[in-house]
């Protein structure tokens, strides 16, 4: 089975998630001064963060599928499972942003990101099982240092949201940075990975 439609479908779903999320920022009816924009500031920040997260998943999905040669039913479903958790991001982004990173919304946001990270890992495992340990995709993935450290940071950040919301927020930003910054620099900081 070819990977073409899995890529096309995933592109469609991720394009909708990332675009609709930003479109959720609603026109402030009636106000035409800076005061009217103020309530949007917190929401804007949380949307930018989520835009970067969804962007990271798209770029990684792009790289991952580039190395994939064929797909099976299990891979299709694990991909759908990943897309399900990504589709929960806009909802939790809005809830967290509207309530100024209140403890529960911030924790729920982390739980969604954690589940997405686990779903991505399960997708990778299904791809490796289908291609074999010596395949091109196995070599391309390597030891997946970033994936494992992300899960670890989320596990710390979720309970931290109830202690200090800004520490939890900073940990989410840290995960985004780990993926965003090119690999060489990360490795210099955290060791060879």
């Amino acid at each position: 089975m070819s990977k073409g439609r899995l890529e096309a479908f995933s592109d469609g779903v991720i394009a909708i998630i990332i675009t609709i999320m930003v479109l959720e920022m609603k026109v402030p009816h009636g106000g035409v001064d800076l005061e009217a924009l103020r309530p949007l500031a917190g929401v804007f920040v949380s949307y930018v963060l989520s835009y970067v997260f969804i962007g990271i998943y798209w770029v990684n999905h792009h790289h991952l599928m580039h190395a994939v040669e064929r797909v099976n039913g299990r891979i299709l479903w694990r991909n759908l499972y990943l897309l399900f958790w990504l589709s929960q991001v806009p909802f939790t982004t809005g809830w967290m942003g509207e309530n100024h990173f209140a403890p529960l919304p911030t924790a729920v946001y982390g739980i969604v990101l954690l589940n997405a990270a686990i779903a991505y890992y399960l997708l990778v495992l299904a791809i490796l099982a289908h291609h074999g340990k010596d395949s091109r995709v196995a070599t391309a993935l390597g030891r997946d240092f970033k994936g494992k450290i992300s899960v670890l940071i989320y596990v710390v950040a979720v309970p931290m949201a109830f202690v200090n919301r800004w520490v939890a927020g900073a940990l989410y930003v840290l995960v985004a940075l780990i993926w965003f910054v090119p690999d060489r620099r990360i490795e210099r900081v955290f060791g060879k990975g």
Copy 2:
């Protein structure tokens, strides 16, 4: 006529349906505790069920089109007819979820699923008529045990919604399981199909 655009268009429509459906879960404005999430619980369950159903249709459509070699006008229109019924799923999902599986919404949900199943069957017939009984797609489809049993279960589940809503709900879940669980196991339970 090539099948490329039929696949691309169907991917687009199904991606929009499955994503928008989940995005329909609205941010609980104002509340930041678990109490604010409680009304969403029933809605969440119905959305997960519908996500799996739409996912099943996408995976099946993927498999079906994989074996298709060419399309004609009739196939394009039967595909549009299937997409029409799939696009009714989010509406009925929300209605059923918000009202805790009340009889009429639960029955309407089943009617939409039944129509989608019939539309899929009509699409398969148009494809078989265009390819011939000895074609690769005819062999790949086989006797379509799952399609027939699904229609049968929906026909039972719709009136059952007025007797006992949970039995109707359980029958919908049963259909999802029949498609979700790999074929071998199903066949062991229901006979050789």
Copy 3:
């Protein structure tokens, strides 16, 4: 310049229009009996009609682009102009459906369809100018009987909406039927076209 992205972009826009339009039918909050569905009946009818119209445009666009060999800037823009008018269909569909085919909404609906038909014709002209009169696409299009009769019927239907709304509605359905029913039968009724 290849036609691949024009097809992909058009598929995306038409998929969004046709899907979002149907998603516009909103869950009747609170009601769980047939009474709650009644206000949706008129809306449902108008959405089905528009679904068929958008479906016809997609199928025709599919056939048209199939015969096209290359595109230029003018074709890209005329295609965007067609998509603009198609994107006005959901808005006018809702307005007409909610108000039980009231004169002005029904006339505006016809004006949008008329503009879409003209835009399609302009797109065809740009394609013919780019490919030459003896090209495959020119042969495939032929004398475009359906396109011309559609424009004529819309021109009659729009003022008719202020005289008798049901006549206007019936004329819209007639246009849909002209495109929907396979060509042979149409030609038998209206002459050789």
Copy 4:
């Protein structure tokens, strides 16, 4: 890394932006006369302007990617950055249109267009850096007269929104015309560029 998915994803995002933007024009509930359409007039004008802007970006992106041979991580992210600013267009379009080109919304609209123009320029730079100065894409881009003059006009238009809103609006229309009108004529007016 191939450019196929970058094109498909961008097509998806731009298709969603351009379509949802027009779908934002809401049905005037209750009114069925011309009076009911009047409040939509200003909004309609601003949406048409933004439709043309997004259309211009899609056509340019189409041309740009046509000449691109391969992509890297930096190009993927700069493309996402461009899409982010384009996704801000619907929000500011609605705000500006609803408030009859009031100073602040009109200035914010210009700031979004300015950022999109800069993002496009950064994308072009990343592509040139990846392909080299003698590549086909470098030749195709030439001196990018239109890109530079657009940025200049936006820089003038944004503060002008606080002096005279119609001058700012006219400058936005001017940028659209510069891109819309075929190159030859532009060059005759502004010099060889």
